[in-house]
């Protein structure tokens, strides 16, 4: 069995590097046009080139989203854009509009992945996309285990499924609430996330049902506990949602899934589900997560009511910039307030978690201070074990 790909989102070059450092086999990014996250920072062509060079040097791949649903005026410049992506050396493009597929297939040698925006859920549709030159299909989030298996059993094509992150309340591509209520086009990257708004629900007598707000809002997806089963099904790629998410979120989620995948593949017979990884995922998220459609669950346990329960996460304390072995001192770039006495832990690529209690903090001039209070402030802390550049420090919650 081929090792499945762990595919991470990256909103910019910095996050691309962190995703790969923390174990992603591939990243997907948005370019300067034709993508579905028009309001993310996205990459310039030069940045894509730098990202591709970085990824390839680390043995990772870069997929670029070209998954906008085109209007007439967006047809212009598409071919040139795709040729530039090919020239840069991106490994694949993710497309939704068949015009993009056709041009890419006929005019370039780019690998083509069908976006989840097409909500592909059955083998007949997958067979068609394969016949048109697609090498991979990103299945709709509504696909159940049985449906995924049926596709894999019947069509020789790469299958990519989401394993973590936010969900659409609708079939992807079939919601234009944003268009109607804010004039922002959801299928061209302008989605205003109306599904997270509160509404009043009325019955046919125009009477409000209750004062409790109605919302379309769903919980996030987390497939950690089903990962071994998904690996055994033969899914090619496991996708993490979230090109707008933070560096810390991406590094943490990638790290967790990397560990789970590697642990299972290393020794399937003796694999044990690691509850602590689930706790880490729960702590890094700002919403609850559940497995959802994999086993056909779509009841109220997948929804949010009573207002949004979204917690601003401040667990992420800092990034290790360097470590002095002789002094046992780490130079940390602060990301959230921390102080002497805090119990913290460090984690990094391909390593376990180590924790300790902060005894001493010094500012850049070597003066002792009680706390690191300023964003991106660089401070020294004494750490009794060796750290590496790019390890991350978070509050200890386990």
């Amino acid at each position: 069995m081929r090792k499945p790909e762990l595919l991470a989102p990256a909103g910019d070059l910095e996050r691309l590097k962190w995703a790969i450092l923390y174990g992603a086999d591939a990243v997907y990014i948005g370019g300067p046009g034709f993508g579905l996250r028009a309001n993310a920072s996205n990459f310039t062509l030069d940045e894509i080139k730098e990202g591709v060079e970085f990824a390839h040097a680390k043995g990772a791949r870069v997929h670029v989203t070209v998954n906008m649903v085109l209007h007439n005026k967006e047809l212009k410049g598409l071919e040139e854009y795709l040729k530039k992506l090919e020239e840069i050396g991106v490994d694949a493009i993710i497309v939704s509009d068949p015009t993009v597929l056709k041009i890419a297939h006929e005019k370039t040698n780019l690998e083509i992945h069908i976006s989840t925006q097409q909500s592909t859920l059955n083998r007949e549709a997958v067979e068609f996309w394969k016949s048109q030159g697609a090498t991979r299909v990103v299945l709709g989030r509504e696909a159940s285990r049985e449906e995924i298996k049926d596709i894999i059993d019947h069509v020789d094509i790469e299958v990519e499924t989401f394993i973590h992150g936010a969900m659409c309340a609708s079939y992807s591509g079939r919601c234009v609430l944003s268009n109607f209520l804010t004039a922002r086009d959801s299928n061209r990257g302008g989605c205003a996330q109306i599904c997270r708004w509160d509404f009043d629900l009325y019955n046919e007598n125009k009477k409000i049902i209750t004062e409790k707000p109605f919302t379309f809002c769903t919980k996030d997806l987390s497939m950690l506990s089903y990962l071994p089963d998904m690996i055994d099904l033969g899914i090619t790629s496991f996708k993490i949602e979230g090109r707008m998410r933070s560096l810390y979120y991406i590094a943490t989620v990638v790290d967790v899934y990397r560990k789970a995948i590697d642990s299972y593949l290393k020794d399937k017979k003796h694999y044990k589900y690691d509850q602590s990884l689930e706790t880490i995922l729960r702590n890094v998220a700002n919403r609850d997560s559940v497995p959802q459609f994999y086993h056909g669950i779509k009841d109220e346990s997948c929804q949010y009511y009573n207002g949004r329960v979204e917690i601003s996460n401040q667990d992420f304390l800092g990034i290790v910039l360097s470590y002095d072995i002789e002094k046992k001192e780490a130079l940390i770039e602060e990301r959230n307030h921390f102080e002497v006495g805090d119990k913290v832990e460090f984690f990094g690529p391909n390593k376990g978690v180590k924790s300790f209690e902060i005894q001493e903090i010094k500012d850049a001039e070597g003066n002792q201070i009680d706390a690191a209070k300023h964003a991106r402030e660089q401070v020294f802390i004494t750490v009794p074990f060796e750290l590496e550049k790019n390890d991350l420090m978070r509050i200890k919650r386990l």
């Binding site: 592909t120 059955n122 549709a125 509504e142 609430l177 086009d185 959801s186 049902i209 459609f293 779509k298």
Partner: protein, 284 residues
């Protein structure tokens, strides 16, 4: 003169509007979404014996594994007997090729049908018709008409489906708050908008807060092959008047006829996106 296609809330409704329409679009039970009603194979077969104008069948839901055998059966049963199959799921295109179906397809991925190039792509796979997105402007429709090989079906009147989900959102809401759920029509309210919301066999759909009323624009789009009327939420007597107003519209009477429709629908009409361009990048 553009032809008029309409949905039917009840099959028998056609009798009241038959003289003003050129064809109907029927949802098929268990294979369609975003219609007031869907019909069994037997009901459709019987209807075809009496209705002698154009009939399009809509198999426009997202197809899951369990739907494929019924889909194949319906496509085979009605191949050569109807004017076209509306499709959303690409499984329909694959079946057309595999089964060598004679009946043309209608590309009807409702919110994705926004450019002529992709219409021409699907044309090459037998989509002789395109059902044009209701979220594009009048000018975009005109440009599509200039370049598209397929015949165009343009929504000109009625509620627009704007949300299709595989989740039972009304049921989930009632379950969560332990409320007794009564059947019937629901709507959501937000900032003055009233949004019809209902569940179908497999999930939830929402319609636009207002009825699109493009009577005047129908006169500006005379080169369009078909205008599509959605009967959702309107009684047949009112609907009959509305279609008749479109049928008799001229430059001279257009204002009065359009206003009359607005009056019949209690002022709840608008122009949709015909003059409103959507945006997608909100920061520079």
């Amino acid at each position: 003169m553009s032809k008029i296609l309409t949905t039917l809330n009840q099959l028998s409704d056609y009798k009241k509007i038959e003289s003003d329409i050129d064809g109907v679009v029927l949802g098929v039970k268990d294979l369609s979404v975003n219609y007031s009603n869907t019909y069994t194979v037997e009901e459709i077969e019987s209807f075809l014996k009496t209705f002698k104008k154009e009939v399009f069948l809509s198999v426009n839901k997202n197809m899951h594994k369990k739907d494929l055998s019924l889909l194949e059966k319906v496509l085979k049963t009605f191949d050569g007997k109807v004017n076209g199959f509306f499709y959303y799921d690409i499984a329909v295109v694959n079946f057309k090729q595999k089964l060598q179906l004679k009946t043309p397809l209608v590309w009807a991925q409702e919110h994705l049908t926004t450019n002529y190039s992709t219409m021409n792509y699907w044309y090459d796979f037998g989509a002789n018709y395109s059902f044009v997105s209701a979220e594009i402007t009048l000018e975009e429709i005109k440009e599509i008409k200039k370049h598209a090989k397929s015949k165009l079906i343009v929504p000109i009147f009625g509620r627009i489906p704007m949300f299709t989900s595989n989740r039972f959102l009304i049921t989930n809401y009632h379950s969560y708050f332990q409320l007794d759920q009564k059947k019937g029509h629901f709507h959501l309210e937000k900032e003055g908008n009233q949004i019809p919301i209902e569940e179908y066999e497999e999930g939830t759909i929402c319609y636009s807060p207002h009825y699109l009323n493009g009577l005047k624009e129908s006169l500006l789009l005379k080169e369009i092959d078909y205008f599509y009327f959605n009967s959702y939420g309107i009684d047949i007597v009112t609907y009959q008047k509305i279609i008749n107003n479109y049928k008799k519209a001229t430059k001279e009477n257009q204002d009065a006829l359009e206003q009359e429709i607005d009056f019949l629908l209690e002022g709840n009409t608008d122009k949709g996106f015909l003059y409103k361009e959507t945006v997608y990048k909100v920061k520079s």
